[in-house]
């Protein structure tokens, strides 16, 4: 049903929308790295940090940031490069739109979490 609906949209407009949304998701994937780390740090502080400035707690907080940044950076690369490849190969198909939707949903979800927590 979605494919039939999309074929009614002019192809240039569809291309522009996909590129624009891919760009947005790519930028967000990088911007959300420190945001995600802040969420993890927030949870760590709530359960373990006692604001005493202990050396152990400080370095635990640093370790969280350092260990989290690498996998998050990998995820960003997957979103940017992997996303571009996937949308190119499956252009116009429902699964491409669904993947883009879910990627943006995850990113918006992280933004919501950061805002609420």
């Amino acid at each position: 049903m979605a494919d039939q609906d999309l074929s009614s949209t002019p192809r240039k407009l569809e291309t522009a929308i996909v590129v624009a949304l891919w760009l947005v998701s790519s930028v967000l994937s990088v911007v959300l790295i420190p945001v995600t780390i802040d969420i993890l740090t927030r949870i760590y502080i709530a359960f373990w940090a006692d604001y005493s400035g202990s050396v152990e707690q400080y370095w635990s907080g640093v370790a969280i940031r350092q260990f989290a940044v690498i996998p998050l950076a990998m995820v960003a690369i997957v979103v940017i490069i992997g996303g571009a490849e996937y949308y190119l190969r499956n252009f116009g198909r429902r699964k491409s739109w669904m993947a883009l939707t879910r990627t943006l949903a995850v990113e918006l979800g992280i933004l919501l979490m950061a805002w609420i927590l």
């Binding site: 609906d5 949870i43 359960f47 739109w97 669904m98 995850v106 918006l108 609420i116 927590l117």
Partner: protein, 695 residues
Amino acid sequence: MRDTIRNAGPYLVSGARTILWMFLVLAAVVFAIQAARALSYPYPLDYGEGPLLDQAMRLSRWENIYPHDLSSPPFTISNYPPLYVALLAPVVGLFGPHLVFGRALSVVAALAAALFIGLIIETNTGRRLAAWASGLSFLVFPYTAQWAPLMRVDLVALALSLAGLYVISRWHDARFGLVGTAALLIAAAYTKQSYALVGPLAAFVWVWHKLGWRTALKLAGMVAIPGVLLFLLLTLTTRGGFFLNVITANANAFDVNVVVDRALSLLETAPVMIFLAGLVLFLGLGNIPLAPLLVPYLVGSLATAATIGKVGSNVNYLLELAASLSLCGGAVLSWSHLKSTHETSEPPTLWRAPVYAAVAVAVAVQIGLLTRATLTGPAEQVKWRTKTKTELDHLARTIERAQGPVIADEYMALIPLQGRRLYLQPFEMTQLAESGHWDQTPLLEQIQAQTFTAIMIHHFPDTAVYRTRWTPEMLASIEANYIASRYAADTITFEPRLPGEIYPSSSVQCPGAVWALPSKATFGVWWFTKELVLMGEGEEGTVPVYAVADGVLMRRETWNDAVAIRHDDPLCSDGQVWTFYRGLASAEGDRSYVADEFPPGINEIPVSAGQMLGYQGRLWDSGSSWVHVRFAVLPSLEDGAFPGALVGRAVPDAPPLPVEVVQEGLRDPTLYLGTMRSHVMGVLTWLPPQCGTER
């Protein structure tokens, strides 16, 4: 436009579901961490854990836990029916007294309650995401996150009650459905007596709606008759002890302000849930299939929640409300999903998908708000409690080494953890004494006779909770016959006063001292860089503060909480000193407890030794603390002026203090009072209110 909305519908739904799943995973992780931290902590996290552990130990030895006669020790009460304790008794009997067993049972019960909430939704709507959302939102409610990891009865009772509702919602037309529901609801009531109301009410209305009033009455009979018979059996076999402990001892005073505060807090924490529950309540009947079950459950849980105003109650009274709000949220989510798919014979209307997406995102945001409340509330509480483990090791050793009985309040569980019987449950017996159901004279005589090796009173900095746990007579007797000797984990340990020993007070000077204490220090003295913080016993504005010697008093215009007196220095024949008394104001700083005869702005008012200056307050710089007075001795300036900069009360545009005055700083007050002192500077150090030298 219509085509765009229709085309975008599946993607909106998918995106919204993704966001909701993210928040559900976050909720599960937060609950898991909270539960794990509490389970791994060996010491008490709540006052109520002690009595339950003691009861489990006694029941494991086949002792009666419902005494009918409270005139002789132990002065303990079993507030709840026996099911929870009966489940634990074999385990603690086999493995010894540990809090982890009861806490694990409570966590498992919380998970079961969440499961049954989800199953009620899924069974009656077929919506799995809504079921997950209902169950996990219940777990991340701050009330659940706070109470689930404690050794308390409530989550087990709730799980049994919800199991009963699940059985009746799924198998209401099967015979075993009625029997099974009745058994589960009776089990819930015999875990905690307040669960005899809401669950049975909801089941009754549901069955009436589905099968008619005759079957509903049959269910009511199946719950009420065995329940009452069991009650009579327990009351008879304990010679009235069961009734006394479970009914009479639970009737406490009520404070409606607590209800209002909690309602406002809930409105702030769960606005979406409350809105969705309102939809179910006012529009659900006829529209939402589960409404005949959810509406009475919601109404009943609101009534139960109102009893949180009872003195001594806590967030456990809000657990049924949390469950009902979670159910309502899941019901509305599943209803909006049902209408947005092709599962009806009609095609979905244009706006159903966006509406479902909006509801899903709203529920996600709600779960986020609940998660935040859990992180800032229960998670922080457990964190701060577990930080005192080292100090609790000291308290545990004190109890272990005690020759005679020990009584305690907040950390009462340390006593059964050492394998000892509880001698006194202070809060419960205080409530019974105040309602006239218990004569505290035997206990007062034992305090006077110094029967107890140690008495441990927990003193929360922000509220005098201990005053609900000890009667004024008990506190007066403790003050007269015991002396604060140790401080750990915000708990003061009192030990018997030694005969012939001199203990300083506002009327008794230490040997060789030139001044008596300016006020009572029942809960000890904090040394803070040559300033003494004397902690009196009582509400703010009730513990008098006196001038330590003759002098002239000054109170600056801006001093809401302080006065200063200039004296001749008794330790230096031609010198003068100032004594400075501060903290004489309410916690918010809006009410001064300085005596009316010393209004702000006065100067050079003669006062005599022992003259009352005001009352201890709770103001501490820009915050608040225990009821106290801060006392400092300052050198007088050459012209007799007050060196306010030494205590952070410098006059604007005043000239800087002379170097020698700054270098000298505050005078050591213990040289004048003869009390104990410390070498520690810059950090609050607790000292017993005794004569002595260094600690």
